[in-house]
């Protein structure tokens, strides 16, 4: 799939924001403080900014409001609702908790909404049978746990971050390895795509000699060597280095670690798209 910057930034930043918001709310629920309130406000804004990137992906944003109309079936619609609910409810609950109108436990609601929003984002990809690499439980797990891990760093919780980074690393590895297998074992092949079963099928001529939307959007080809290298870099920056820094150099400002982690997540997110092969590539002999 085409690694569109808007989508990489959207998923990464909204994930980070929502994870951060969840932790900030948690902190607020544990005991209101000026710092906690500021942190809620900051992560709320970051989430909003991250979500804005998703609209950059729309070719006809004037109809974006309509994406609220189909929560019954569409994960994207659900995500829209959840994001808006989260952004609306989080400040209300925070205000109520901060002013003592609601007990601290009330933050559970916006926290759950944060996580559900990340989950919904992940489900947009997970639901696609057409992209075998995404079509797995590891996808939502990875999105949520990375969101929370990043959020923990964002809110200065190194211990929690370490605790989350370790399973996140495992999930990342599992996502990659099982993904490689899933692609290999996918039932779809050029034979099933064309229904031509009496021999080996090879694409001869494309329908057109130029590019088209499908090729640009869904038939992104990334060299295996390149992908492998990026996996190491991504894993290193997103998981390994932060864990090491957090444990070995606790004095380091956590935002520095977060920056490293963020760079790593961006790399893995780039790979998330770039490595994902859409079955339509079979029609173009590209897979």
């Amino acid at each position: 799939m085409h690694p569109a910057p808007s989508l990489i930034l959207f998923t990464t930043l909204s994930g980070l924001g929502l994870g951060g918001l969840a932790w900030a709310l948690f902190a607020l629920g544990a005991g209101p403080s000026h710092a906690a309130i500021m942190m809620v406000a900051f992560t709320w804004a970051l989430t909003g900014a991250g979500l804005m990137f998703s609209t950059a992906h729309l070719k006809n944003p004037k109809n974006a409001w309509r994406s609220f109309t189909q929560p019954g079936s569409s994960w994207l619609s659900r995500e829209a609702w959840l994001a808006v609910l989260t952004l609306a409810i989080a400040p209300l609950v925070s205000f109520a908790v901060a002013t003592g109108r609601l007990p601290g436990a009330a933050v559970a609601l916006p926290i759950v909404l944060c996580i559900l929003t990340v989950l919904a984002t992940a489900m947009i990809y997970t639901q696609l049978k057409t992209v075998p690499r995404w079509h797995t439980g590891w996808t939502p797990f990875l999105f949520v746990i990375l969101s929370l891990a990043g959020g923990a760093m964002l809110t200065g919780r190194s211990a929690d971050a370490i605790g989350l980074l370790l399973p996140a690393g495992a999930a990342l590895a599992a996502y990659w390895l099982s993904g490689d297998n899933r692609v290999r074992q996918s039932q779809s092949s050029m034979n099933t795509a064309t229904g031509l079963t009496h021999g080996t099928v090879r694409a001869f001529e494309m329908p057109h000699t130029g590019d088209n939307y499908l090729l640009k959007e869904m038939v992104h080809v990334v060299a295996r060597k390149h992908a492998r290298r990026l996996r190491y870099i991504g894993f290193g920056l997103a998981i390994l280095v932060p864990v090491l820094l957090l444990t070995l150099v606790p004095a380091l400002p956590i935002w520095l670690v977060l920056a490293v982690h963020l760079a790593g997540v961006l790399a893995t997110r780039w790979l998330f798209f770039a490595e994902a092969e859409h079955v339509v590539g079979l029609y173009y002999g590209k897979r």
Binding site: R202, P207, H208, T209, G210
Partner: protein, 941 residues
């Protein structure tokens, strides 16, 4: 089926019952030469949508990719906008726009002195012309012998072999009997002129489950849907066919009755190899009943093919020889002997074991009545794959003889002629070349020669025509040799000309061999600094590569903006079951300062005072081409259009429907328009098959104006005109070939088909082991398609397709480039892999490559970066072979350009700088502005 429910339906606010337009205007497509009927839907006076005309005999409602994309041709930015005069050097593409008055005056200034002094100094050649009966008439009036259209570089082998052998050819002059055939054998066709009819026909027989066999080195398109693929090595079809004939003769699986009655197989030969004739010139046969020697058309006889001294004996003698045994030929064909035998067996099985009768009584020209029509359901079709080789004439003859031996021509289930064919070779005009300054030529330029006496030679024996057609070099060049005009004019051989006047032919590019050489010839100068070809006038509708090489441009309209006439005098739209002709008419007026080329010729003719274009008082005879179409009288009662003629001639005794003769009503064009742009008369049921011998057909054809009197004839297995040339080469007669051509004529103009290997003429052939071919893409018409925003997305560049064995041997990968070298030159081009390909063959799509600056495309358009022409590797002359002569790269009989004899060698090569295919002939300035950056074409608002 139509969906259920007819009430107006809407879907979420969309009108599901939109009006396709305010009005339908029915005219004829010209996105190619197939001439399909189209419905042009107009909205607010603009072209909104084009679809096929369901009533039209050619396409019955369907359209091809090009036809459906006509709207993008019509609005293409490449359309020329006004007459233009060259301002920069030739080839630079620099012009200024001028008025029509000035343009016609310039043409007059050039042409008038030529006509007054030496009309042959004008060479007028028209390329993809659909008005040849008009343009040739104009040229004849001008008085120059130098006229032809594009047939010579196209498929004159096919046309000529067909007409000399059976009085009609494949091309678009005949068609398989799609309704009855059970086995369809297709030789060397990628697309052909009958684009839609062939597709419809293949669809029809496939739906019936009948079998299609494709003989072609390349398995795309029709050959891809063929049930069996015979992946022959190029140039060997003649050998394969003669071997099939060998097998059929040996097995006695030939149609004896058919051969005896309808062919010259039973005709007697004299010791000179000439057909024996009686005092009336009629060929003689032995009547099997009386054993008497009688003229072939004697009533009540059954000619005896088993008699000694007949043509049949010669055939047996020649083809039973082991030389043609499958074992002898298989290797050169790239096939196994068994494959050839199987094919022969299959042909015989279907022709004879699946024969059928149509219950239809008919009477033959000998007066005998037949209760039924016997069907031989084997149909064949062939085109340039066999004709564009130097041995193509004889190969095409061989194929016709195969058809005839099986008795399938004009039999139900076989191959059928379309009116005005069949027509015996003798019924065609002979070529004329007598020039008188200030006067018309003494007759039509092109025609069919029957021996040395008919050649167009000057007193001194040198060619009378600039293209050397009908000379000893290519005596039977019935369509002229357009591909030789520029090089001969440049060389001043056989003489110098003054003006090259071209219409609709991209001669500096895809229709020439060696385009760079041609570009040089067009711009080459004499010592005094003047151009070797002093004047070049050109008419194109678009900014083609050729435009840059003209001094004066006479811009044509698009096909939706002008009158055209697809005439029975020319290449009409007939079907085997009907005579038909058609028009184009301006469904929209041009929005630029352009005018239909034929109207330009009408006006120029009047200005020059050409007799047929002026009245007694010198005033213009016709206002424009439309006026000419209606009012021109070719022969009494006969003119460009056959439809809706009136008067007693139109209704001869006993008929109530008008034929093609009579007076043209003044509103003839309007009647065509009301009737969908065409006119059609069906062939009566008893006249539908066996037309050359069918009395009912012959009478009907006379009534239609196709002949002046019935013209029954026999198929020429033995081709006597060839024998006449051969005899001259053997030293008989007064007109003698030059010595250097004597041996070739004796050998190659054999009255029975022969085969020779065209690559034997290539010195050092082993260094060029691979055959290189081009194919027509179905979605593109030559160079025209690339200006079309929709079509160019389908074929924006063309790789060289390479078979698996070479691909692997060269270690090629997707995206690699190859250097392709022929004896004439080298190109470096993108490569692609193809498995379904003869292992000795590489190929590419024809005419996708474009010159930078042409067609209103940007300079970095893929057509001119990665796209390429194979033409750079082909030369109109063969490489020197040490006899001091340069032999032409063409068929020695007809002069047909041998495009497909090209041999090359392939080597992997680094991609040239900027991934620019080589050679790159540079950029010429565009005489039109570049096109829009975005298109969202919609007339509806």
């Amino acid at each position: 089926m139509a969906a259920k429910g007819t009430a107006p339906v809407t879907a979420r606010g969309y009108d599901l019952s939109p009006k396709p337009g305010d009005e339908i205007r029915k005219t004829t497509c010209y996105m190619c030469a197939c001439r399909c009927g189209i419905n042009v839907h107009m909205k607010d006076g603009k072209v909104a949508y084009i679809e096929g005309n369901r009533d039209h005999p050619v396409n019955r409602g369907v359209l091809c990719a090009k036809g459906s994309a006509g709207i993008m041709q019509h609005n293409a930015p490449s359309r020329l906008r006004a007459p233009m005069k060259r301002t920069g050097p030739r080839g630079s593409g620099q012009f200024e726009e001028i008025s029509w008055d000035e343009a016609l005056q310039l043409a007059d200034d050039i042409l008038r002195p030529l006509r007054d002094t030496n009309p042959e100094k004008l060479a007028f050649f028209t390329g993809r012309d659909q008005s040849q009966s008009f343009t040739s008439f104009w040229a004849q009036n001008f008085g120059t012998p130098n006229y032809a259209a594009h047939g010579g570089f196209c498929s004159v082998n096919m046309a000529t072999a067909g007409i000399y052998t059976m009085g009609g050819a494949f091309w678009e002059f005949g068609q398989p009997d799609w309704d009855h055939t059970k086995l369809f054998l297709l030789f060397g066709v990628a697309e052909d002129h009958d684009s839609n009819p062939i597709k419809m026909g293949i669809g029809k027989i496939k739906a019936r489950g009948a079998k299609v066999i494709g003989v072609n080195p390349i398995r795309t398109g029709y050959n891809a849907v063929a049930d069996d693929w015979v992946g022959i090595t190029p140039g060997a079809d003649g050998l394969l066919i003669l071997s099939l004939i060998h097998c059929l003769l040996k097995a006695g699986r030939i149609d004896l009755d058919y051969l005896a009655r309808w062919t010259n197989a039973p005709c007697l030969l004299d010791t000179d190899g000439m057909l024996r004739r009686n005092g009336d010139g009629k060929t003689l046969v032995i009547d099997r009943n009386t054993k008497a020697e009688v003229p072939f058309d004697t009533a009540g006889i059954l000619p005896d093919i088993a008699a000694p001294g007949t043509v049949m004996e010669q055939i047996a003698e020649r083809y039973l020889s082991d030389e043609y045994a499958p074992e002898s030929v298989a290797a050169r064909c790239g096939l196994t002997p068994d494959r050839i035998r199987t094919l022969a067996a299959e042909l015989a099985r279907v022709a004879f074991d699946e024969a059928f009768e149509i219950e239809q009584e008919w009477t033959d020209f000998r007066g005998e009545t037949h209760k039924t029509m016997t069907g031989r359901p084997v149909a064949m079709h062939a085109m340039r794959g066999i004709s564009a080789h130097a041995n193509g004439f004889q190969t095409a003859r061989a194929l016709h003889i195969l058809q005839i031996l099986l008795g399938t021509v004009e039999a139900p289930g076989g191959f059928r002629f379309k009116p005005p064919y069949p027509k015996p070779p003798e019924a065609h005009p002979k070529p004329h070349c007598k020039v008188t300054p200030g006067k018309p030529l003494d007759g039509p330029h092109l025609g069919f020669v029957h021996g040395p006496d008919d050649l167009t030679l000057k007193e001194d024996g040198s060619p009378a025509r600039i293209d050397k057609a009908f000379s000893w070099e290519n005596p039977m060049s019935a369509h002229g040799l357009m591909h030789m005009v520029i090089s001969n004019a440049h060389a001043g051989d056989p003489y110098e000309i003054d003006t090259l006047f071209l219409y609709m032919a991209n001669m500096s590019w895809n229709s020439s061999m060696d385009p760079k050489g041609v570009m040089h010839m067009l711009t080459d100068k004499k010592a005094d600094g003047s151009y070797k070809i002093p004047n070049i006038i050109y008419s194109d509708a678009y900014s083609s590569e050729m435009v840059a090489y003209a001094d004066l441009i006479l811009p044509d309209t698009t096909y939706l903006e002008r009158h055209d006439c697809i005439s029975l005098l020319d290449r009409p739209i007939c079907e085997a079951d009907a005579a038909a002709d058609a028009i184009r008419w301006p469904v929209v007026a041009p929005d630029r300062n352009v005018q239909g080329f034929q109207t330009t010729l009408v006006k120029l003719g009047a200005k020059l005072g050409l007799p047929a274009f002026v009245n007694e008082d010198g005033s213009a005879k016709y206002a424009d081409y439309a006026d000419y179409i209606t009012n021109h009288v070719r022969k009494p009662g006969i003119g460009p259009l056959a439809g809706w003629r009136e008067g007693p001639e139109a209704f001869p005794e006993g008929t109530d429907a008008p034929g093609g003769r009579g007076e043209a009503p003044s509103d003839q064009l309007q009647r065509y328009i009301e009737h969908g742009g065409f006119w059609m008369r069906h062939v009566p049921a008893e006249a539908r098959y066996f037309k050359p011998w069918n009395a009912a057909y012959q009478d009907w054809a006379v009534q239609m104006g196709l002949y002046d009197s019935p013209q029954p004839y026999l198929f020429n297995l033995w081709c006597e005109p060839l024998r006449r040339f051969q005899r001259a080469a053997e030293g008989h007669g007064t007109r003698q070939p030059p010595d250097h051509l004597r041996a070739r004529i004796r050998e190659k103009l054999d009255p029975l088909p022969i085969w020779w290997d065209p690559s034997e003429d290539i010195p050092d052939a082993e260094s060029y082991p691979v055959h290189a071919l081009t194919q027509r893409p179905m979605a593109m018409y030559h160079s025209w398609g690339s200006q079309n925003a929709w079509l160019r997305q389908i074929h924006g560049m063309n790789p060289l397709y390479i078979p698996t064995n070479i691909w692997e041997a060269q270690g090629l990968k997707t995206g690699d480039w190859v250097k392709v070298t022929s004896p004439h030159g080298a190109i470096t081009v993108p490569a692609a892999h193809m498995a379904a390909l003869n292992p000795n063959t590489v190929w590419t799509w024809n005419a996708i490559g474009k010159r930078k600056g042409a067609w209103a495309l940007s300079e970095d358009a893929p057509e001119s970066t990665k796209g390429f022409l194979l033409n750079h590797l082909i030369h109109e002359l063969l490489p020197p072979k040490g006899d001091g002569l340069r032999w032409s790269n063409s068929d020695p009989v007809t002069g047909q350009a041998a495009w497909f004899d090209l041999r090359v060698r392939i080597e992997k090569a680094p991609a040239p700088d900027g991934e620019q295919s080589q050679p790159n002939p540079g950029t010429s300035a565009s005489p039109v502005p570049e096109g829009a950056a975005n298109l969202a074409w919609q007339v509806r608002k």
